[in-house]
């Protein structure tokens, strides 16, 4: 099995994702954004960063990169596609996931661990998790405030208190319904704002990211 990690100019988490997936035994390959053929990849990740500088709007230019055609084709064919942070923003802009991500409520960049609760165990990143399981995973974004618009998103993760309860204080960026991650209706495309690859080793804030990435590789 091979995981393709898409690299736009300005992407910066590609090696981190490769490292984390590598720890879990995956075979990964970086794919430049001008690539037009994704045959041979069984999984696709759009990692975090600032694709095309996030100029105009996060993900707004990236959706026009040549690689996004084959990404859409793979998603339609049922290939698991995971967007992390900036990758989530790109998937929303590309119309592969519903809604949009706007500036954080406090208009400041946020880099710190947050708690999220598993809302659904049918998505490609939560199949190995327990319903209601609380995970502690780092957030790292300025535009992480999820707004569904007219869509009816299927939440995968919601921000929560350490004990799993909901509160305004536990919602770091003002996302509607505290949504931290969503899936498409088919269940094979998922986007989330927290960075699971930043929670996989003992010295990190937790190893809670493993269950998400393991689910992704096993899905």
């Amino acid at each position: 099995m091979k995981v393709g990690i898409v690299v736009f100019p300005g992407t910066n988490c590609e090696r981190d994702v490769a490292h984390a997936l590598g720890l879990l035994g995956a075979d990964t390959e970086l794919v430049w954004h001008r690539e037009t053929n994704l045959d041979g990849f069984d999984r696709i990740v759009l990692p975090g960063g600032f694709a095309h500088g996030d100029y105009l709007r996060a993900g707004a230019i990236a959706r026009f990169s040549p690689v996004m055609g084959p990404v859409a084709d793979a998603a339609a064919a049922g290939v698991p596609v995971l967007g992390i942070c900036n990758g989530f923003q790109v998937l929303c802009e590309a119309g592969l996931l519903p809604g949009a991500l706007i500036a954080n409520r406090d208009l400041r960049f946020i880099c710190r661990p947050v708690h999220v609760r598993v809302e659904s165990t049918t998505s490609i990143i939560t199949r190995a998790a327990r319903p209601g399981q609380v995970l502690r995973i780092p957030l790292n974004s300025y535009e992480g405030n999820y707004v569904p618009g007219d869509s009816a998103p299927i939440p995968v993760l919601r921000y929560c208190e350490p004990d799993g309860t909901a509160s305004d204080a536990a919602n770091p960026n003002g996302s509607i319904d505290a949504i931290a991650g969503v899936t498409n209706a088919a269940g094979n495309v998922v986007g989330l704002m927290p960075h699971p690859e930043r929670a996989v080793e003992q010295f990190m804030v937790s190893t809670d990211g493993r269950v998400l990435l393991e689910s992704f590789l096993a899905s």
Binding site: P9, N12, D16, D54, R198
Partner: protein
């Protein structure tokens, strides 16, 4: 040409005459432009160069010392570390967001110019009181600028320091430091290579932004109307820089460049002349080939522009096509702008004709060398003789007052705006004594601490300079690393003031002594003069950036939990509070002579700290610095919500800041082992108390305060002042 052009470019009449003597004729405007920026204080170090020569810069592990774009040291197993610090003080006052952002961009280029991948950034930022709306605006802008650039360029910001003091009200300090790592065979120097080499300008297009930044902005003080200098501030584009980093690293990996120089201060003037002078060669530079973002730029504008995100690569002719292909792949612009020639002439072509023709080395090597007058201030003895003893107040209320000061308060409002986790190597991040990053593929870790203290150095610049070196060394030691190399950023007032030059030379003497005693070389630095507003100089504020090496990595730091022993290691605290936070913040005083360093005790403390960090698993170490031992202990208790019971503690022991001291929390069953290590390392160690399940801090059973109260004050010290003042 108007007769006073040189003055408007910041040159003296003497310097103008010297240019005429070098050329044997009157300089043309483009030539004058080049000399004006290259001979500026910022680029030439003309006031400081004579003194910097005496600094200790050598050690067997130094690969590249001061003078190149960054210092480089050997960390073993074929790996090198590159490190550099720079100031962006004046631009950040004029335009805080872009000033700070381009400071980050510039320091990154200094490091990846050497062939290194930047792996961490640190910032040292100083402002006036947060009660002043303008200081809040500057803090917000600077932090947003560092975040906006550093996060997007994809290099984590791993730590730093922040201080608020009215000395910085009209002249904030924004220093940034960068660490990179590289394989030994990837080291690249700023040389133009042999004659025939081709100069290729990579990255952003050249515009009129930042013209004269080095001379007009960085080399004079501020007076009324600083905002009129705003056009001299550059504008940053982190996206362009990210692509430039990746492109350059690919060029190095494939061995496609002979040398590289970044375009920072003095822009093309510097990037064309310095590598050529180092190579002992000449250069033909074609300004018509430079890719521009504006039409109709004149030759002086092209030569002086400080447009960001540009690099000059010197390439063997056989590799030119490959270099252009790499640039194309990474979607950056590239122009062939010059050819290295035999001889020593820098010839600049514009509009098809020669507009400048001068000896290459004259721009750097013939720069003026000033011996400015030095005068010991007559007020220093009165300061030292100040025997005023503070009226000692309640321990708990003093502690609360200190934790409520933004200089000692919780800095997470700042560092949580910075990506400090990227690359997955951050073992110890911001908010701790030192950052610690693992070097993947090796057993090693690199630790970095940065330390400055204006009030201390104002009271005694020599002792202050030495104190900073030893404090930074102990900071890396408590995370398990041995001190390896230093970079320094010397932020001072107007060098035309003889008292500032005294502060400067005294500081250098202190830094030198500290480094020599410690056996750690200075591998690079930066001098920022003219930090003054309306004739008032800032406190002398040297900043020491210390790189430490942990090999192997120590075990993970323990957690603060009930039932741990609290030990204080290092020399006994004296009754001296000169320069301490309690003197400044609580007593509103400034006087006395700070306690001097004690190299033997310093070595013992470092040895003890490193061994405890490695040998006592589950231990928690913390340097005692600003605020003293009680503040240091509170900093450990508050995040954990754990209490402590301490033996009766005299006021000066609670808040004194004598050097070489650190706290050590260890599981109770490991006290004996910990004490044995200290004894073996000839360090003094004493038991102060124990952590408790009751969430309160109890000092001698008479002074008791809930840890929750301390934490609330500490957490709000910066955040609440920003929030409360945001409507103002």
């Amino acid at each position: 040409m108007t007769t006073d052009l040189h003055r408007r470019l910041g040159m003296t009449d003497e310097e103008f005459a010297q240019v005429g003597a070098i050329l044997g004729r009157s300089p043309a405007d483009p030539e004058l432009a080049m000399y004006s920026v290259m001979w500026s204080e910022h680029c030439s170090y003309k006031s400081s160069r004579a003194f910097l020569r005496d600094l200790p810069t050598e050690a067997p592990w130094v690969v590249v010392g001061p003078g190149e774009n960054a210092g480089v040291v050997d960390i073993g197993d074929g790996w090198l570390a590159a490190i550099r610090i720079e100031s962006h003080n004046h631009p950040s006052f004029v335009e805080p967001y872009q000033g700070a952002a381009t400071g980050v961009g510039g320091i990154l280029r200094d490091v990846f110019t050497m062939g290194a991948r930047p792996i961490g950034l640190w910032n040292q930022i100083r402002f006036g009181s947060l009660d002043d709306p303008h200081s809040r605006y500057l803090l917000g802008g600077v932090v947003a600028g560092i975040a906006g650039y550093g996060n997007a360029v994809g290099v984590p910001t791993l730590g730093g320091e922040v201080e608020f003091d009215d000395t910085y009200r009209g002249n904030p300090l924004v220093n940034v430091m960068c660490l990179g790592i590289l394989r030994r065979d990837q080291l690249v120097l700023g040389t133009a290579g042999p004659p025939g080499s081709i100069a290729i300008l990579l990255g952003s297009s050249t515009g009129r932004d930042g013209i004269g930044g080095a001379s007009v902005l960085a080399s004079t003080g501020f007076e009324e109307g600083a905002a009129t200098k705003r056009p001299s501030v550059q504008v940053g584009d982190p996206y362009e820089e990210k692509k430039l980093i990746e492109a350059c690293l690919e060029l190095y990996e494939r061995g496609l460049v002979v040398g590289v120089q970044d375009l920072g201060a003095a822009g093309l003037s510097c990037a064309a002349s310095e590598p050529t002078a180092r190579a002992g060669a000449g250069l033909d530079l074609d300004l018509d080939a430079v890719h521009c973002r504006e039409v109709g730029m004149t030759a002086p504008e092209l030569l002086m522009s400080e447009s960001q995100e540009r690099m000059m690569a010197f390439v063997d002719p056989a590799h030119v096509d490959e270099v252009l292909a790499v640039a194309d792949r990474w979607e950056i612009d590239a122009s062939i702008v010059g050819t290295v020639r035999e001889g020593d002439r820098l010839r600049v072509f514009h509009g098809g004709r020669i507009v400048a023709d001068l000896p290459t080395s004259s721009l750097s090597e013939d720069a003026p060398l000033l011996r400015r007058p030095i005068a010991r201030p007559d007020w220093i003895d009165a300061l030292w003789d100040d025997q005023t003893r503070p009226v000692e107040t309640d321990l708990v209320e003093t502690l609360v007052a200190l934790l409520d000061h933004p200089s000692l308060g919780d800095p997470s409002w700042i560092y949580e705006q910075f990506d400090h986790m990227l690359f997955l190597n951050t073992v110890a991040g911001p908010g701790l004594d030192a950052s610690l990053v693992r070097v993947r593929g090796t057993s090693k870790g690199l630790a970095v601490s940065t330390d400055g203290d204006g009030a201390l150095c104002h009271l005694d610049p020599r002792r202050g300079g030495a104190r900073l070196v030893w404090e930074a060394a102990l900071n890396v030691a408590v995370v398990g690393a041995r001190p390896l190399a230093i970079v320094d950023n010397l932020n001072f007032g107007n060098p035309e003031n003889p008292e500032v030059m005294w502060q400067f030379t005294e500081t250098l003497a202190g830094l030198s002594a500290g480094c020599s005693d410690l056996g750690v070389p200075i591998v690079g630095g930066n001098v920022s003069f003219y930090n003054e507003t309306d004739g008032a100089d800032i406190y002398p504020t040297p900043v020491v950036g210390m790189l430490g090496l942990a090999d192997p990595m120590p075990p993970l730091r323990g957690s603060v939990a009930p039932g741990m022993a609290i030990l204080v290691c290092g020399p006994a605290q004296s009754t001296n509070l000169a320069g301490s936070a309690v003197q400044t913040i609580v007593h509103g005083a400034h006087g006395g002579r700070p306690t001097n360093v004690d190299p033997d005790a310093g070595e013992a403390s470092i040895g003890t700290a490193v061994r405890i960090a490695h040998e006592i698993g589950g231990g928690v170490l913390h340097d005692i610095s600003k605020g003293g031992a009680l503040v240091a202990l509170a900093e450990l208790l508050m995040p954990a919500g754990v209490g402590a019971s301490l033996s009766p503690t005299p006021y000066t022991h609670a808040f004194g800041e004598d050097p070489h001291r650190f706290l050590c929390l260890v599981p109770a069953e490991r006290i004996e082992e910990t004490v044995r290590i200290a004894v073996e390392e000839r360090s003094r160690i004493e038991l102060w108390g124990a952590t408790t399940g009751a969430p309160e801090l109890s000092i001698g059973h008479t002074n008791v305060v809930p840890v929750r109260r301390l934490a609330a004050v500490w957490r709000g010290a910066i955040a609440d002042r920003i929030a409360g003042g945001s409507g103002g």
